[in-house]
Amino acid sequence: MKKRIFSLSLVAMLVLSVFTLAGCSSSSSSDEVIKIGFIGPLSGDAAIYGTSASEGAQLAVDEINEAGGIDGKTIELIAYDSKADQTEAINAYNRLRDQDEVVAVIGGTLSGETLAMKDLMVADNMPVLSPTATAVDVTVDAPNIFRACFLDDYQGKAAANFATNDLGAKTAALLVGTGNPYSEGVSAAFEEVFTANGGTIVGSESYGTTDKDFSAQLTKIKELNPEIVFVPDYVQTVGPILQKAAEMGITATFMGADGWDGIQEEYADAAQDNYFTNHYAADSPSELVQSFITAYQDEYTTVPNSFAALGYDAVYVMTKAITAAGSTEADAIITALTETENQGVTGTLKFDENGDPKDKEVTIIKIDQGQLKFETQVVN
């Protein structure tokens, strides 16, 4: 008897779940609200990127709504967690499209999840603007997908040019995260351009995505004694690497890419006098940048990183396009996006035929006494 009650309650639970899910679909879409979706990792190891980007995006939405929205209609940003997982991302996207009936999507935040959703997005002709997915393939053969950030190889080239031209470096070593397409992509471009510029790559070491112990690799790099060590990865990996390198007394200049943003907060000492390529500089005199930083700090208390800045810009670009389109029809928005030009926190954004940013400036940042200092700007 007990068993029957148990199995019956299970069946009831199942049936219930089916109806809840089915029932959700009939959610009404009010005409007064324009819904935009956001997808990124809000939990798990990569949560900081998704969270930053979504906070930046939300800030932009709030500002726009305060200023009257799009033709009097308010924007609603619906953010779903991708957990940095393909299946989760696809489910989240399906839900945004069917349940929430969004008119456009800001996302995904990471390249992997964006690529997983790409085919669906293309098939649906959904206007998509990824703030931060840097892998080349994201926008290839996808007329409806755009992105606000420059590409992996673009900043790798910029970093190499800076190393040769501004720092006068002749030798460099690479420290690459295998299993991380971002790290692999940026360092491959760096290697190519640095060698073409006449420099020598004296060694190339790698580590896995979950590695925390870099002593073996750094011991080898120390022996090679290069002028530059190029480590394009995210803060949570780069920080310990820099700290360990300092501990081991490695004197080379370390360089990296936009994943370094935020390094000054916790690893100021270790990162002293190192450089990285970024989308914007917080100490830029630009009024746009400063007002963004103030607003962000008021809202979230922390200094925005480049993910936040790109999320913020992405929403503005998308809003501009929807306004210009004068409708929420996908085709109209996509056409409008191709013609949009926006002066944002991360520079001037206009799209090339792929939907990638055209001639976007790469900012070189120097870490100095726990501050990110604007060093120079490079356009490839």
């Binding site: 190891d45 299993g179 896995g208 011991t219 022996e223 310990p240």
Partner: protein
């Protein structure tokens, strides 16, 4: 040659931490035949408590270690009491799933409380580099290895020489016989969890000091590696866990140094598999034949 010695020290450093964590796995396994999947999370919480103690309360170093170890010992006992004890006589796989559940729970609890971004562990030991015949050893490495070895010796003495230690061994040999001998099995199991968790916490603190960061998923990989170490050495055998820990640490570092960094983990697993195929109960494990 110097480079090799340097890498050897690196390996010793990682290995000693793996060994500390592996002991917790092996003790718990020895006594209730449960792979305590949550042990990696014990290690993680240990590191967080040390982080809080160091940054918010400015405690002296010994107090940081002690606080973290004591809190985690209590937490370990609590976990056993709440989640594992009701399943003592259930199928072993159910207990395993519960342990996985506890592991996921603790990870997400930490995520909720501390958020995902890694916290930077302050340097607990004075920064100094010692030169030993051409090779450099940082004070952190020296203290990590030293502390790990001291605690392992203490534990070994405790298990072999004290009454409670003997009770532990008795329970792990034969629970029913131990009950007949008047040993309080529940208390002995609690004690095992307390000790294992305290050592796990110690491993966590040392790990976070050596690798600077504290974050919610930090227990997963070292936990898995330490578990492998425990199996490699012969699960249930404390000296086996220590040996396994050092071997895994050494193999990992040497592979990274001389063979391939990308394949390091794969090689560690391959070695484990090969060892187990030839010695199915681990290096120090006894071959027990099933009685027919």
């Amino acid at each position: 040659m110097n480079l090799f010695l340097q890498q050897l020290i690196n390996g010793l450093n990682v290995g000693s931490i793996y060994a500390l964590i592996a002991i917790g796995y092996t003790m718990v396994y020895g006594i209730i035949k449960l792979i305590n999947f949550a042990h990696g999370e014990i290690m993680m919480f240990g590191a967080y408590f040390a982080f809080i103690a160091a940054t918010s309360y400015n405690m002296p170093v010994w107090a940081i270690f002690l606080t973290s170890m004591i809190i985690m010992a209590i937490l370990g006992v609590a976990i056993e009491f709440i989640a594992y004890r009701p399943l003592r006589n259930a199928p072993r796989l159910s207990a395993l799933i519960t342990a996985i559940g506890v592991s996921i729970f603790l990870q997400n609890l930490a995520l909720l409380i501390f958020k995902a971004d890694p916290k930077v562990m302050p340097k607990l030991f004075p920064e100094k580099i010692f030169y030993l015949g051409g090779i450099e050893i940082s004070s952190t490495t020296l203290i990590t290895v030293g502390l790990a070895i001291v605690f392992m010796i203490l534990l070994d003495l405790y298990i072999r020489k004290t009454k409670q230690g003997r009770a532990m061994r008795a329970v792990s040999e034969d629970k029913d016989a131990a009950i007949l001998m008047g040993i309080n099995v529940n208390r002995t199991i609690s004690l095992t969890f307390a000790l294992g968790s305290a050592l796990g916490a110690l491993g966590g603190v040392l790990y976070s000091v050596a690798y600077i960061q504290v974050f919610p998923t930090m227990g997963v990989m070292p936990g898995l590696k330490a578990f492998i170490a425990a199996v490699l050495g012969g699960i249930g055998i404390v000296p086996g866990a220590m040996l396994g820990g050092f071997i895994i640490g050494m193999v990992e570092t040497m592979t990274k140094a001389y063979i391939s960094t990308t394949w390091a983990d794969a090689i560690v697993f391959a070695i484990l598999i090969i060892v187990l195929l030839f010695k199915p109960t681990g290096i120090l494990g006894k071959n027990t034949r099933e009685k027919v």
